[in-house]
């Protein structure tokens, strides 16, 4: 479980004449720190992109005043929120009120460890890769529930119940839709999964052109529900529940929660990119075109392969893809009405679960792993 940052740091210290071995824990923390900072800076731009795109789709102009075309709107909002008074309801449970924020904030930062931004550039290449992100995010439903309960407000409590039920209902189809990818690659590491897709083509088109599509569809829908985006924003249904479990949070707590929502959206988009959309590879068709027996029909030119192997191009590819999926989520937000809670739960447990099992099975079957 050595971190890729470790050789870099050791080399730097060797140049200075210091022989030092950095513990893996420190190296992983540093690598995660750098990558997470990159993401967090992007977090200041993503809400701006969302607001601008949504405004254009609705025939408005969006933020215009702060900075060039309103690009500084989000940092200004954050500054205002941090400087605001931090209020807490008198009857609130102080421990739960604090711990909910703590869980939600920390889990969103911790999720960046196994996400690569180019081939080998990641916090730590964990053996449990994808499962790590799932495990970290599964802390969120109880945290939401506790936050809603601790606020001692009826809106927050109902929202907490809804959030916990919804997140549980969508975790299981999400797990199962990933199963096919993991069984084919035979590794949990996102870096390995992306490298496999560089070789054999995106998983979106695998499984006779159907299985990958079904699995990707289920994963994306479940991801939208996990991040509580429209059309699945039932816990914070604005017209009914004010803000759901987040109703009583104000000031820096609200700022942290809003940031966390976008971080969740980003992590889900990145997972989707790495599992089904080729990760850091912009070319969907792999190194060559294969027939069903694995024989090569046609090989793509070598300059294309070298272009795809360039670390900087991979880095830019990941960023562009992430922004593309922010755009898609924004379009969903403009286009779709909200579902009802019972529709949502039955959709998750009855339809999506079946679809995810079918998709994963077709994916595994098509590659002949089953024999």
């Amino acid at each position: 479980m050595a971190s890729p940052v470790n050789p870099f740091l050791s080399g730097t210290f060797n140049i200075l004449g210091i022989q030092i071995t950095i513990p893996d824990v420190v190296a992983i923390a540093l690598g995660t720190f750098l990558l997470a900072n990159y993401i967090m800076i992007n977090q200041l731009i993503m809400p701006y992109v969302e607001r601008k795109v949504m405004a254009r789709q609705q025939g408005r102009r969006g933020p215009v005043y702060v900075g060039w075309r309103g690009i500084l709107q989000i940092p200004a909002d954050l500054l205002k929120l941090v400087l605001k008074e931090d209020t807490m309801p008198k009857t609130a449970d102080s421990l739960g009120f604090f711990m909910a924020i703590f869980f939600i904030g920390v889990s969103s930062i911790m999720a960046f460890v196994p996400l690569p931004f180019a081939n080998g550039v990641l916090g730590a290449d964990l053996t449990i890769g994808v499962l790590y992100v799932f495990a970290i995010f599964s802390i969120v439903p109880p945290a939401m529930f506790i936050g809603g309960w601790a606020s001692n407000s009826k809106y927050a409590l109902i929202g907490g119940f809804r959030a916990a039920g919804q997140l549980l209902a969508y975790e299981i189809p999400m797990f199962i839709s990933v199963l096919g990818v993991i069984a084919i690659v035979n590794s949990f590491s996102l870096n390995d999964i992306a490298l496999y897709q560089m070789h054999a083509g995106w998983f979106l088109f695998s499984g006779f052109g159907i299985g990958g599509l079904i699995a990707a569809f289920v994963f994306y829908i479940a991801g939208l529900a996990e991040t509580e985006r429209v059309p699945f924003d039932i816990p914070e249904a604005e017209a009914e529940l004010v803000m759901g479990p987040r109703t009583e949070f104000s000031g820096w707590r609200y700022a942290l929660i809003m940031m966390t929502e976008y971080v969740h959206l980003t992590v889900n988009s990145l997972l989707f990119i790495f599992l089904f959309f080729g990760g850091f590879d912009f070319w969907p068709f792999g190194n060559a075109i294969y027939n069903f027996n694995g024989g090569v029909i046609f090989t793509w030119p070598t300059w294309l392969y070298e272009l795809r192997s360039n670390l900087w191009i991979q880095f830019i590819t990941v960023t562009v893809k992430a922004y593309f999926f922010i755009y898609v989520a924004t379009t969903f937000r403009t286009a779709f009405p909200r579902m009802r809670i019972d529709q949502l739960l039955s959709f998750g447990w009855k339809q999506l679960l079946l679809a995810s099992i079918f998709g994963s099975f077709i994916m595994i079957w098509s590659t002949g792993v089953l024999g």
Partner: protein, 188 residues
């Protein structure tokens, strides 16, 4: 050379035990569920120290993600009024202290029986480890390891169906004044 892993382990162990005590002596049930989640996270980290990262995932996503929500619902859906039971003034305190000391002595002597962590402490006569022999004879040959997951799935499904049946309300007993949706006599 400081063994920082050992320091981390001891810190995590202290954290786990403190949170475990918090489960028992917190004011409300939901708070105690919150402490239980924190304890479960501590136990998951103990699994990491034992090189079992897959179980870390299982513990976090199933235990503190799924089961904890069930427990939170159990605490919230039954609005339990906290009793004023004062443990330290009741006549339970002496038996509990005696039982606790006895338990600690018993378990402590068991732990002290473990020799220094070198070599195999479980070797039996024929060279197999005791655990291995046990599992070979009783578990693997009779049931087969491959049946664990299907067995667990069937068990869990049965438990869920049973709990749904249990929790469904008998409409006749409790809610007699509930208006009938479809009245039987519509002739008048």
């Amino acid at each position: 050379m400081v063994d920082y892993l050992l320091i981390l382990f001891v810190l995590n162990a202290i954290y786990t035990v403190l949170m475990g005590i918090g489960v028992l002596y917190s004011r409300t049930v939901i708070r105690s569920a919150l402490f239980l989640i924190l304890t479960l996270i501590g136990v998951a980290n103990v699994f990491l120290f034992a090189n079992s990262e897959f179980l870390w995932v299982i513990q976090l996503s199933v235990y503190s993600g799924g089961i904890a929500v069930l427990l939170l619902f159990a605490g919230r859906l039954t609005s339990y009024t906290e009793d004023n039971f004062e443990f330290f003034n009741s006549n339970l305190v002496m038996p509990v202290i005696v039982a606790g000391v006895l338990l600690l002595v018993l378990l402590g002597t068991l732990v002290a029986q473990i020799p220094a962590s070198t070599g195999n402490i479980f070797t039996t006569n024929n060279g197999n480890t005791l655990l291995e022999q046990f599992f070979h004879n009783i578990w693997q040959e009779n049931f087969g390891l491959a049946f664990i997951l299907p067995f667990l799935s069937a068990l869990f499904l049965a438990a869920l169906l049973g709990s749904v049946k249990l929790a469904m309300s008998d409409d006749s007993d409790d809610y007699e004044e509930k208006p009938k949706l479809y009245p039987e006599e519509t002739t008048t």
